[in-house]
Amino acid sequence: MKLFKNLLKSPMFVFGASLFSLVLFAAFVVPFFYDISQVTRVGNPYDAPSGKYLLGLDHLGRDYVVLLLRGLRSSLYVGLLAGVIATVLGTLIGLIAGFKGGLIDDVLSALTNLFVVIPQLVLLILISTSIGESGRSLTLIAVIIGLTGWTWSARSVRAQSSAIKSKDHISLARLNGDGGIRILLVHILPYLFSYVFMVFIILISAGILSESAISMIGLGPVDTQSLGTILNDAKNNGALTDGYWYAFLPATGIIISIALSLYLINTSMDGVFNPRMRK
């Protein structure tokens, strides 16, 4: 609780958290008042914003508010799923590498470094292309992002876990007869919680950005809208050259808001948790 109070003292956190709450509000509360179940033609292509359709219509005459809200929900879903996969995978690999040391550490670190040097976007593009139009669902894309984005969490967790490994309480746990898995989960992981949580937040943000990036270049999900596919549609249908700002500015704004709010939350937590172990 004291931690939370300290967090509230940080203007950065208050701003970031409010912004993120606003995003969540738009994604999960607004749909109760604004019907987003139907994506249908309601007017002419690129009709300008009006009282009835606040953000105008797209190239097929569909309401942008509906598209954006649906896209926002998909993007949050992708970010969360990719974030969870990347965090769990990276934390596990990092924990084991740091704790076991020796050959296992060398192999896992080499694997991590291999993934670090391959640009994630290139990998995403290659995998998305090879899967082909028909198989590219939102979930699949989230899984791909998760499976390629775990390197940072693995690296940072590895460093922490190898530092904690040599502490006395680990020796004592061994003298108590605890096995390797119990030591990892009970005596090392809790010390890394604040750290893993911060990595998790950043990975959610990275997941949302990656999804937008590959969707915008036309390799996104085919089964639903996301913020990236809205941008892709706008790009493909002349919105940029013809100056229909409402086709791309709102979507871009939402993506930036999510990434910025999560980044601010992460940075402010960094200061408050002030992990003594990271001296």
Partner: protein
């Protein structure tokens, strides 16, 4: 003839490769008999803590033989049922996410079959009382809520819970003040008498070692440079390192540190 608890012959333990290669324990031969209090005395980095970890079975000797009761240490859990340790820094010895009490109970993990829950609770209570802490004082408390002296006593309480036959005490008094130090030594002696334990006492303080031990081992750079009864070692030291250790004890009537 008394039984030998530890028996080391030409024991070597080294770490690292190439440039980082270093030998922490260098060709040591000694034995420790049942019921003895032996002190390992030496300055920082002389290899005494590595030797302690070898006695606990946490390190294996690189070469030479290191026997516990005539056998090499293979089954660690069985070894730790008989040989336990008190560490130097009481603050870093407990997991800060769990209560002290639950961690004292966790010590029962080394048994093949845990006693009943009621018996475990009773033994923890008795152990706490043995180190003069009321069980209610630490009820629901986390490690960071206790003082250094209390924490060190918690480590000793753990030993009272487990009642091992051999105790490796790795500088148990170096992090606490002089007053608490006397208490800790008191409890160690109490353990010794109640359980007729063998104690290996590791310290840099030859004065302290003189008072508690049956035999002294003086270590320097991984070697045991001198060993014998405390009177003999302190009154007629044969090694220059022993002389150095004796001279480093502050004395009220003698100039100790030469001021520039």
């Amino acid at each position: 003839m008394q039984n030998k608890i530890f028996d080391a012959v030409n024991c070597v333990r080294s770490f690292g490769h190439g440039k980082k290669f270093m030998t922490a324990v260098d060709d040591i031969t000694f034995d420790i008999k049942d019921g003895e209090i032996v002190s390992l005395v030496g300055g920082s980095g002389c290899g005494k803590s590595v030797l302690a970890k070898m006695m606990l079975g946490l390190y294996k000797p690189t070469s030479g033989t290191f026997l516990y009761r005539g056998k090499p240490i293979t089954d660690h859990k069985a070894h730790w049922r008989e040989v336990q340790s008190v560490f130097q820094d009481p603050f870093s010895c407990f997991n800060q996410f769990f209560t002290i009490r639950s961690q004292l109970k966790a010590a029962f993990g080394i048994y093949k079959e845990k006693p009943s829950d009621k018996e475990m609770e009773e033994r923890v209570d008795r152990a706490l009382l043995a180190v003069n802490v009321k069980p209610s004082e630490v009820e629901g408390k986390y490690p960071f809520e206790l003082s250094g002296g209390q924490m060190q006593r918690m480590l000793l309480a753990r030993i009272f819970v487990l009642r091992p036959q051999v105790l490796i005490a790795d500088e148990p008094t170096s992090m606490v003040d002089a007053c608490v130090r006397a208490n800790i030594l008191d409890y160690l002696m109490k353990l010794k008498h109640e359980l007729s334990m063998t104690i290996v006492f590791i310290t840099h303080d030859i004065g302290l070692a003189y008072y508690v031990s049956d035999r002294l081992f003086i270590m320097h750079k991984g070697k045991i440079v001198e060993q014998g009864p405390p009177e003999e070692v302190t009154t007629s030291p044969k090694s220059e390192h022993t002389v150095q250790l004796l001279e480093d004890i502050p004395d009220v009537n003698r100039e100790w540190i030469k001021r520039a």
